[in-house]
């Protein structure tokens, strides 16, 4: 039994290794073996309408789309023009196949219907009808049962009518049918390729916006992230969306450098803690190819906490934000007025000292 299994394995390996051998050849379909399986393997291997296909119709049809400009995105008119050229080639070829002796003798309809669908697609394109020009559902090949779309079966409608006496002719017609299915699939995708291009461009832009939202906008505490998520939720309910163009600021602590002119000498300029009780930061998203956040501005109601001459000083005021990074605040307590600056903390991470020096140079 084991010997038999091994033998079968060797035979199968030998037979099917041909399909994957480093060769452009596609072996002949053998009538005595499982025809459908052989056809489906060669379909997968690119023997019909793929890179291993040496049939003239495939070479000609693929040469039309092979030289689409690789560096630039093909335009819609260019795609339509190529599609029409290919469709003309394929309809002519399908007409010949549909009139073949075997197809006529056994009244085989799929090829004629494929031709008809291609012609309708060209007419729709000429009339600028907003339709999905071809319907792959009608001609998708299922290797398991040999179904062609939702109407035909390769086995039942093309191979079986002629077997056993005219199997070879049936196989030839099956090969040509699969070849045209594959070419139609490739042309159909090429025609609709701009859908993928546009989607990719738009979603890549959204991705960049989200990257900026997380990295360039003011940092958010877990609490702020939860609150801002809550308000964004409605927008995110269905489908891709751009990030908000504002942030709510709630209970946000940050490091500041505060200057109080009336404080004791030596403790006028002190590092401290600013607590933004509530506020908002907003901007506009740029249009066009370059993604940026335009005119980011913000304001919040704050209290500052600092240690001056051994005792804690608490002051209240307003904080103004510019460009997410720079903040200037004014506090007041009694007759004292304080001014402070803050540099968003994660911006300090890379070069804290330089950032402080730069801000001090600008504002103080």
């Amino acid at each position: 039994m084991h010997l038999l299994k091994c033998l079968c394995l060797i035979i199968l390996t030998t037979r099917f290794s041909i399909v994957y051998a480093d060769s452009n050849d596609c072996p002949d379909i053998k009538v005595q073996d499982d025809i459908l399986f052989q056809l489906s393997m060669q379909y997968e291997a690119g023997c019909f309408g793929g890179d291993r296909d040496k049939a003239q119709i495939s070479v000609n049809a693929l040469s039309i789309i092979a030289n689409l400009n690789q560096n630039e995105t093909p335009t819609v008119p260019e795609r339509i023009s190529r599609f029409k050229q290919g469709a003309e080639l394929l309809t002519t070829s399908l007409a010949i196949e549909a009139r073949s002796e075997y197809a006529v003798k056994f009244n085989i309809k799929p090829l004629a219907l494929l031709k008809q669908e291609l012609e309708q697609a060209v007419t729709a394109l000429d009339n600028l009808e907003p339709v999905s020009f071809l319907n792959p559902q009608h001609w998708k090949f299922d290797p398991n049962d040999g179904a062609i779309g939702d109407q035909f079966s390769l086995h039942q409608h093309i191979i079986e009518p002629g077997c056993p006496h005219e199997c070879t002719a049936g196989i030839t017609l099956s090969v040509n049918t699969l070849r045209h299915l594959k070419l139609m699939e490739r042309y159909d995708r090429m025609l609709h390729g701009n859908n993928l291009v546009q989607f990719n461009q738009q979603v890549t832009r959204l991705n960049e916006q989200w990257r900026l939202y997380a990295t360039a906008a003011r940092s958010q505490t877990p609490l702020e992230l939860a609150i801002n998520s809550y308000f964004y939720q409605k927008k995110a309910v269905s489908g891709f969306a751009e990030p908000p163009s504002h942030q709510l600021i709630v209970l946000h602590p940050s490091l500041i450098l505060e200057h109080v002119s009336n404080a004791d000498r030596g403790s006028r300029l002190k590092p401290g803690l600013a607590v933004e009780w509530f506020g908002a930061n907003w901007w506009r998203w740029s249009e066009g190819n370059k993604v940026s956040m335009l005119n980011p501005l913000g304001i919040s109601v704050i209290s500052t906490y600092s240690d001056r001459a051994g005792s804690q000083s608490i002051r209240h005021g307003l904080m103004f934000h510019y460009n997410h990074m720079y903040s200037l605040g004014v506090t007041h307590r009694g007759s004292d007025t304080g001014i402070f600056i803050s540099v968003d903390l994660q911006k300090l991470l890379t070069d804290k000292n330089n950032a402080f020096t730069e801000v001090k140079r600008r504002f103080l």
């Binding site: 093909p74 877990p222 992230l225 600092s306």
Partner: protein, 352 residues
Amino acid sequence: MTKHLVFFVHGMGEHSSGWSDEAWDILKTSASLFSRLPHGDEFDKKFQKVELTYDNVFERYREHWQSDSNELIKLLQNGITPPAIINKVIQASTALGKNTFFTTHLLDVIMYRFLSLVNMPVRVQLAADISSALRAAGMDRGSDITWSVVSHSLGTCVIHDTLHYMFTGGHSEIEHLNAQHFAPHCGLFIANVSRVLQSTVNVYDSIVRPSLNKKLGIFQYFLTAEHILDPFTKPRAFEPPLEWLDAPTRAKTPSRFQQIKTREVLAKNIHGLEHYLHNPKVHVALFRALYGNAQIIPQYEEQSVLTSFQKQAEKIQLAAVKDELVKLKENIGVNISDLLTAAETYNAIVNF
């Protein structure tokens, strides 16, 4: 030949470049056991791995919390006492910024499930990466390309939501992809948690299902794999009703929707992507679906490989771990909180 792009989507936790290499090697090695599948270099000509990552979206926020709280704590050590509520905010940032199992793994799940400002950029990033890979492969120019997805754990939910948004209009601010022309071929959802983490998209109502009609479902084949001891798959298990498949799709043989159950234990971490892919029940089903052809692996070859695998599994002595996992799965509830608790217990058992 038709080039098949296989996208890998990871689960919770940090994943750096190359995270899917081991899984890919398992598939490649497994393919070499079957006579009709391509071997060695031919495998790489036929299939192309495309690795996706999204944990950087979670890490962006965690890194901010870590750096912010570090600076603030230094300041507070200098005698400044903030209000109690601000102390709590700082403590929360500090705790969530630290690297613990909770923050590096479970927090991913919580943030993805509950924070729209996190789950949206995750979906957008995956959609951008997928569409870029399809364009790079020439799918928009008529190249002979098809693509499939292998997702794991949290990744099953993430890719479900992403694909639904990619192929349905909804309230999307961008044009969606046309499923007739660009839909994926096969989806393998390993340790599927898409239902328990379901948020904006109802998993049973979405377009992420198999169908012959691309307006109803984007996949040709939809596979789920679940290990009987895997605790993550129990809360709100993915078990769609019969009508989830439309009648013509339901009539197809082999089934376009397959629920693969595995029971063999080769290592402690039975939840791991690699542990699943190693099992012939999973990779045989996957290869057959990738080819859309059950005959690509004859039944006698499948049986031979499976028997050998089961014998190998029998030799591995992990009775104590199995007992603990059985108890864990028995006691797990149905909510997301149960899922998180189970994850912590699971980590204590297998340390993954």
